[in-house]
Amino acid sequence: MPDARQPAELVLAAASGDQSAWDGLVARFGARMWAVARACGLGEQDAADAVQGAWLRLLEHLYDLKDPAGVGAWLATTTRREALLLLKKAKPGPGVLDVTHEPDPESAVLEADGNRLLWKTVATLKEPCRSLLTLVATDLGSRQVAVRLGLPVGSVGPTRARCLQKLRTLISLQETVQ
C-alpha cells in the first residue's frame, strides 16, 4: 500500500522519528534514484553506493532541508552528484562533499507521472533515434549500440545527444499543448 502522504509530510514525519515515513520516501523516490545513477553510467555496485550516499546525505540534512516538498528533486540531484563524484574518483576534500546546491530543475522530468508519454514520443521518432534511445535506455554500451545500428562507435554519443534533444523538444511541445 503506497504511503499517501505528500513528500513534505514524509520528510517532517521522518525527522520526528517515523520510520514508516522514511520507508515512504524510499518507496516513492528509490527507483528514480537508481535510474539516475545508472543513467550516469555506473555499474551495479557503484550505482548502489551512489544511491546509498544520497540517502545518507538526506539523513545529514533531514532537519535543515530548505524545501521539503522538493525532496524528490533534491534526492535525484544528490544521486547524480554522488554518481559523478564516484566516476571522477573524487577524494573527500573541502567543498567536494558539500550539499548546499539547489536541485537541478532538469530533474523535474523524473517527477512526471506520465513517463509512458516519453516512450510514446520515442515511438514517433524516426530512425536511428527510435532504436538508439531504446537500446541506450536498456543498458547497451556504445559499442553494442553501434554494432546493432550499423553506426560508427564514435558517433553514438553525439547521435544520442541529438535524439534526446529531439525528444525534449517534442515533449515540451506536448506540454505546451496540454
Partner: protein
C-alpha cells in the same frame, strides 16, 4: 549535459528494464537507523594520501572540522576491509566515546588520553565517525565512501 542524464533516467525508469534491486531499496530503508537526531555535522577540511610500499596507495588522511572539534582520520584499506585510526581534538575529556559507523556495522571505542581511537575490520563503503561527549550534542563526520 545535465538534461541528458535525467532524460535517460526517465526513459530507463519508464522502460522498467532495470528496476532498483531489492537489496538497494532495503539498504535505503535501513539507513534510517543511522539517524542521530540533531547531531552536529563535521565537514571535510583536508585530505591527503600517503605513499605505501612499492608505490602502492597508503593510508588516506581525512580531516573533519566543526566549531570546537576536529577529527583526524587515517583510513587504511587492506584485505578488502577498512581500518580506521583517529584522533579527536582538543581532547574532549573524561567519559567520551566515538562510534565508528558503517551502514552494516558500528564499533564503539573509548577515547584514549590524547583523544585517539582505532577500529579495524570494517566493511568497505560508507563511513562516518560520531563523537559523544557528556553534556554536548553528538558530533558526526559527514559520510565518506571508502573502497579499495
Amino acid at each position: 549535459m545535465i538534461e541528458d542524464e535525467y532524460f535517460l533516467a526517465a526513459l530507463r525508469l519508464a522502460s522498467g528494464h532495470d528496476p532498483i534491486p531489492g537489496h538497494v531499496a532495503a539498504a535505503a530503508r535501513d539507513a534510517y537507523g543511522l539517524l542521530i537526531p540533531h547531531a552536529v555535522t563535521a565537514r571535510p577540511a583536508g585530505y591527503s594520501t600517503a605513499r605505501g610500499v612499492r608505490g602502492a596507495e597508503g593510508p588516506q588522511m581525512i580531516r573533519f572540522v566543526t566549531d570546537g572539534l576536529t577529527f583526524d582520520l587515517e583510513v587504511t584499506v587492506g584485505d578488502g576491509l577498512i581500518d580506521v585510526a583517529g584522533q579527536v581534538g582538543p581532547v574532549p575529556g573524561h567519559g567520551c566515546h566515538v562510534d565508528v559507523r558503517t551502514p552494516h556495522l558500528t564499533l564503539t571505542r573509548r577515547l584514549a588520553d590524547k583523544g585517539q581511537f582505532a577500529a579495524t575490520g570494517l566493511p568497505p563503503g560508507w563511513l562516518s565517525v560520531v563523537c559523544h561527549r557528556p553534556g554536548h550534542a553528538p558530533v558526526a563526520t559527514r559520510w565518506v565512501r571508502v573502497r579499495p
